[in-house]
């Protein structure tokens, strides 16, 4: 046993040092949250594989030091270029309030929005506020990162709860969820690309697809 310990000790020690160094380089992701809002007649949700609601504030999400908000004010395109309500710039305008006028509403069925970060980046987190003044589940939510604006090649899927592959990005295994004022935090795990695309397919209240804000956090490529 002693021999074993003496053999591995330097490795363990090195790992501990490395881990400590990595931990020191990680910092909590800090974003400004909007005011909580839940109004209107509640809609009973009959949604399978639903994530339990967050109890209180979300635990700190750690990102490498130097991670910044990449998406603020960046260009947004979408599958629906004449939204039902609002304009695409609302997706990255920094306003996360849940009131009328804060969201862009894309048409019924499968739709996507895409953010052009202007240059390639390493992405650690994507925060999404579809809608948070009513408990809703947005269906078939898929988030992807790519260097290809058409998302034909080099696509990394960072979130997918589209169990039946309705949007065609492959069947996902992530859970359905109800968004609150805290938004949905997606761990992007350092995916690299210039474009971030989010799909959805209506929601439990109506057939439409809303976006109040999307934040992409990461580090621009050198």
């Amino acid at each position: 046993m002693k021999i074993f310990v003496s053999c591995v000790s330097p490795i363990v020690a090195a790992l501990l040092v490395a881990t400590a160094a990595m931990a020191q380089d990680k910092v909590p992701l800090k974003t400004q949250l909007p005011k909580p809002l839940f109004v209107g007649t509640p809609v009973p949700l009959n949604v399978p594989n639903l994530e339990p609601p967050l109890k209180g504030k979300r635990a700190d999400f750690m990102v490498p030091a130097g991670t910044v908000l990449l998406s603020k004010g960046k260009k947004v395109t979408a599958s629906d270029d004449s939204p039902v309500t609002g304009t695409l710039d609302l997706v990255t305008d920094g306003d996360k309030a849940g009131d009328e006028g804060s969201w862009v509403e894309l048409g019924p069925g499968k739709q996507w929005v895409q953010i052009d970060l202007a240059k390639k980046a390493t992405i650690y987190a994507v925060l999404v506020w579809h809608y948070h003044s009513q408990a809703r589940v947005y269906r078939d939510v898929v988030a992807q990162v790519s260097d290809d604006p058409n998302f034909k090649s080099g696509v990394t899927t960072i979130f997918n709860n589209d169990f039946k592959n309705e949007v065609g990005a492959g069947a996902g295994k992530d859970q359905n969820y109800v968004e609150t004022y805290q938004g949905k935090l997606i761990d992007a795990k350092g995916a690299q690309g210039r474009y971030v695309r989010l799909y959805s397919n209506g929601n439990t209240t109506n057939k439409l697809n809303d976006y109040i804000e999307v934040e992409v956090w990461g580090k621009p490529a050198a």
Binding site: V39, T85, G101
Partner: protein, 445 residues
């Protein structure tokens, strides 16, 4: 993607109870329906929606799932909402003509059979009366009106014109409510002798509704339609003269169930409430109400609370409590529950289970550890009726089926008026700080 639920899916979704029994249970049992049209061959009912705010959007979503009806016109004074509705419907392949003013709509739309009204309460009576007189059937959201006189006028116009007037107490067409009322409360006498009722709708503190500044309605137009400013327009529920406050906005749902399930109206109401929290509203933010229902030479008291400063207390429900058992109902199936007292012997569990009226829930592991000095834990069952439609859809379907002559309205205006009246009386009791008597005569329109 449209979540259409056809009859087969509906029946399979309702599983345990059995198809024939359930369909029967879902029929309206109202025998004194007054405004019934004769059978017609209306296969495609043209409809206008007046009011495309929060509730109008809810109605539209339910409406879009219904076959044999078509929305041809949309009306809202706010261009921001009106345009939103127009664009949404256009994307669905359902272009509509849109109007700022409902009288313009009525003047120009000559091929309508029905209107859905989802405007602020103070517009309900004038709009409903005008539409009925124009020969249209009307589905009007609750409350009927912000005044008793307004509500009474709607019943009178319904009777004078012979047109249908359905009030939007959508629980009255909810299969779970109908099943539970008809099978458990009435047929099985599940609760035994009813001794008390409790209901509530508590909601957390929230900011008032805002609006995008660039889409503000002009002051002239706001004044034309009865609003002081944009804040009042967006938050009309809180202002006297426009709405009835939380007892009317939220409480109406539960208090209507009290009357419906009791099959009678209360003989008195006492209440306390106040504007204790919000500083820029007219109506009470919190209220507690007690109604007294006469039952077999005794009284069953019904307590209702609506709090808009806390969401505590288990959501929104109506609970009917008797010496044999208790039924807790809610639009949210997760909140529904039934309990049977240990003393209850009139109907056996097996019998109810076999009929598909109830389904036993497994007992919690520590149930047997109850202290001998306490009342024994109640056996817990659930109501085996589930449906997967938007909550307002069955009520709208009932309205359209009544127009076709294949159903009776589940909530005609004269029936709804009794609830309307006692809700207004609760607001009056809060203001008067005293118990108010309600006679059988005054509560009828």
């Amino acid at each position: 993607m449209v979540d259409k639920l056809n009859r087969r899916e509906f029946l399979s979704a309702t599983a345990v109870a059995g198809a024939a029994m359930l369909i029967d249970a879902c029929k309206s049992d109202s025998s004194d329906q007054k405004a019934v049209v004769k059978k017609s061959s209306l296969n495609n009912i043209n409809v206008a929606l007046i009011g495309y705010g929060e509730e109008g959007k809810v109605l539209l979503e339910a409406f879009l799932n219904i076959e044999g009806v078509k929305l041809v016109a949309l009306c809202d004074i706010w261009e921001y909402h009106r345009g939103e509705g127009e664009r949404y419907l256009k994307k669905l392949g359902n272009e509509v003509r849109s109007y700022e003013n409902y009288e313009d709509l009525l003047a120009k739309e000559k091929d309508l059979q029905a209107v859905l009204i989802a405007t602020p309460d103070f517009w309900h009576a004038p709009m409903t009366n005008t539409c009925l007189k124009a020969g249209l059937h009307v589905y009007c959201e609750k409350m009927m009106s912000n005044t008793i006189d307004g509500a009474r006028s709607m019943v009178k116009t319904m009777r004078d014109t012979g047109k249908l007037l359905q009030i939007g107490h959508q629980r009255r067409s909810n299969p779970r409510y109908l099943f539970t009322l008809n099978r458990l409360l009435h047929e099985a006498q599940f609760c035994g002798k009813l001794t008390a009722i409790q209901g509530q709708w508590n909601r957390a503190v929230k900011e008032d509704f805002g609006w995008p500044k660039k889409y503000e309605i002009s002051q002239t137009m706001l004044a034309k339609y009865g609003y002081k400013d944009m804040h009042q327009f967006r938050n009309w529920r809180w202002f006297k003269g426009l709405g009835g406050g939380p007892l009317s906005d939220l409480g109406a749902h539960q208090i209507d169930i009290f009357n419906w399930w009791m099959g009678k109206t209360p003989k008195s109401v006492m209440a306390s409430g106040g504007l204790d929290y919000y500083k820029n509203h007219d109506w009470y933010d919190n209220a507690m109400v007690i109604y007294e229902y006469p039952v077999e030479q005794a009284v069953a008291r019904a307590f209702y609370q609506v709090q808009t400063t806390t969401s505590a207390g288990g959501g929104y429900y109506e609970q009917f409590m008797g010496d044999d058992g208790t039924i807790r109902m809610s639009e949210d199936p997760a909140i529904c529950a039934i309990y049977r007292e240990a003393r209850a012997t009139a109907v056996s569990w097996d019998d109810l289970t076999q009929k598909g009226y109830v389904k036993a829930k497994p007992l919690a592991a520590d149930t047997a550890k109850v202290d001998v000095r306490e009342t024994a834990a109640l056996a817990e069952y659930e109501i085996p009726v589930f449906f997967n439609k938007p909550p307002h859809q069955p009520h709208l379907e009932n309205f359209f089926n009544a127009i076709r002559g294949t159903a009776k309205l589940n909530c005609p205006a004269d029936e709804a008026f009794t609830s309307e009246y006692v809700i207004h009386k609760a607001n009056e009791a809060v203001a008067a700080e005293k118990k108010i008597s309600i006679s059988d005569e005054e509560v009828r329109a």
